[in-house]
């Protein structure tokens, strides 16, 4: 990444789950105060705030100035607040803008907050809000839910890789087992492959327990030119919009973002010690292995058979439990992925600690436009101390 160095100075969160008595403001404030405390700083030390949320307009009756309303109650006033909406990648988009703001030299220490409140007493209303994260002129009114988008994408992978139901059940079980020791996670009970198999079909081959759940939650980071605990540095911050697929060589959106990130970092996938990837449905994790270069095309089945992506494997993926088990409060997700990476690199991940982790990647995608996610974000963090 060009410009001044950017460090993760502090992390904070409100656990993900169902919190009917907790407002969106309270979720966001809890996470923000947690990040400030972790950084040993006060709100008055912040030079700007970047706030991510996707659906407060549709679900919480707060269309505009979301971040300003969240943070006023913790004493923020006078500094710039920028609100970011980029579907399921809103959180990582906010982190990206915050990194650019610090790297440019215009701001020294900033607060990033991602928050979402999706339980509003009407699941249909929440699902309808999620469906807005696409070009609604094209994808509205055709019966297309995101579970079906993912089912079709997974089927495209199945046509090229020797993976099927068993691999999908395993990756779901794996991520649930990872989430057990994650205090942020919505689901902290292990499940078996048989339980996954017995859950009802949503969009073939996606079953209910493979889907990330509706969730309330918030996540926050303090980013700064000054290192914090562990000296966790942002080595790459890359964002890509959906490409026009004008020829056979067009790369997928996540691959474009990953390649940019590898180039910025001067690293390759072989240098990673762990990764958080966007498993909005758990089988999509397998698809992302190859999109992000974690394994080659045609190698997904062997990567799974080797259990490479489980804790203890050569490249643990979604040690937090991923979207599937940690939960997916949309605006918070991309920020929460980076919290997991920072904790791992600091050596603070407890029972799910990846020993010796020094370099880690997060991939977060959002929405759908054309033939790809509307936005794909990839960050690479590195331990420098």
């Amino acid at each position: 990444m060009k410009g001044y160095e950017v460090y993760v100075r502090g992390v904070g969160y409100h656990p993900f789950g169902r919190f009917p008595e907790t407002s969106l403001k309270q979720l966001a404030a809890t996470a923000a105060l947690g990040a400030l405390d972790d950084a040993g700083l006060r709100i008055g030390d912040m030079h700007a705030a970047f706030c991510a949320n996707a659906y407060a307009g549709l679900l919480n009756n707060q269309e505009s100035v979301r971040g300003e309303t969240w943070l006023r109650g913790i004493g923020l006033g006078g500094i710039p607040v920028v609100n970011i909406e980029n579907a399921c990648a809103s959180g990582s988009s906010a982190v990206h803008l915050a990194c650019m703001a610090i790297a440019s030299g215009n701001y020294e220490t900033v607060l990033v907050v991602g928050a979402e409140k999706m339980f509003v007493g009407d699941t249909g209303r929440t699902l309808a809000a999620l469906a807005n994260s696409a070009d609604t002129e094209v994808m509205g009114n055709i019966g297309l839910q995101f579970s079906a988008v993912d089912a079709i994408r997974v089927r495209e992978m199945m046509a090229e890789e020797d993976v099927g139901a068993e691999a999908f059940e395993w990756v779901t079980m794996k991520n649930h087992s990872h989430a057990v020791s994650n205090p942020i996670a919505q689901y902290r009970k292990p499940i078996s492959m048989e339980q996954v198999r017995a859950s009802r079909m949503i969009a073939d081959p996606i079953r209910l327990l493979m889907c990330s759940a509706i969730s309330d939650g918030a996540a926050a980071l303090v980013l700064s030119r000054t290192p914090g605990r562990g000296g966790v540095r942002v080595r790459a911050s890359a964002l890509a919009s959906s490409p026009w697929r004008l020829g056979p060589d067009t790369l997928a959106g996540p691959t474009i973002a990953a390649n940019k990130a590898y180039e910025q970092a001067g690293l390759g996938p072989e240098d990673l010690h762990l990764a958080e990837v966007h498993d909005a449905v758990s089988p999509a994790e397998l698809m992302h292995y190859r999109e992000l270069g974690l394994c080659g095309h045609g190698e997904v089945a062997s990567f799974v058979a080797e259990r490479a992506s489980a804790l203890g494997g050569r490249l643990p993926v979604n040690t937090s439990g991923g979207l599937n088990s940690r939960g997916h409060p949309v605006g918070a997700t991309g920020v929460a992925q980076l919290i997991e990476l920072a904790l791992q690199l600091r050596g603070d991940a407890g029972e799910r600690q990846v020993e010796g982790a020094r370099v880690a990647m997060a991939h977060n995608s959002g929405g759908w436009v054309g033939e790809d996610p509307a936005v794909s974000a990839v960050h690479i963090l590195e331990k420098t101390q």
């Binding site: 094209v138 509205g140 009114n141 055709i142 297309l144 839910q145 079709i152 994408r153 495209e156 969009a203």
Partner: protein, 130 residues
């Protein structure tokens, strides 16, 4: 007649070759893309002809969906389709529950009367499925 996706498809008589999807053909490079766009994504030319495309298409991957949405009663099929002119998109596939669809099946555009009285669209296989 009210359409579900008025910017996405033409019904009969709205354009030469209709019904079908709305597309744009670049007068500069000849590229055809979905929807009526303001500039060609390939060459940047702003002189684009509005055309009806996708009367014929090929099925990509598809999924049987078991949760009703948008007035589509589960189970139903949705898939990616590639139009004969090139552009690809998602579309409802008009096939009976349990049908064994396969990638590469030829499809034709069809208008679909929806439960709310509007007119939508789908793609129907033109050959018997396995």
């Amino acid at each position: 007649m009210q359409k579900t996706n008025p910017t996405l498809f033409y019904s009969e008589g709205e354009a030469p070759g209709a019904p079908g999807l709305k597309g744009s053909r670049c007068s500069g490079c000849g590229r055809t893309v979905l929807l009526q766009v303001a500039a060609c994504p390939q060459c940047g030319q702003r002189d684009l002809e509005q055309v009806c495309i996708g009367q014929r298409a090929t099925l990509g991957e598809s999924a049987e969906v078991f949760h009703s949405a948008d007035g589509f009663e589960a189970p139903y099929f949705i898939g990616t389709i590639q139009t004969a002119e090139g552009p690809a998109t998602f579309a409802p596939i008009a096939a009976a529950p349990g049908t064994a669809l396969r990638a590469g099946m030829p499809l034709r555009f069809t208008l679909l009367e929806r439960p709310d009285g509007r007119v939508g669209f789908a793609y129907a296989p033109t050959e018997q499925s396995a």
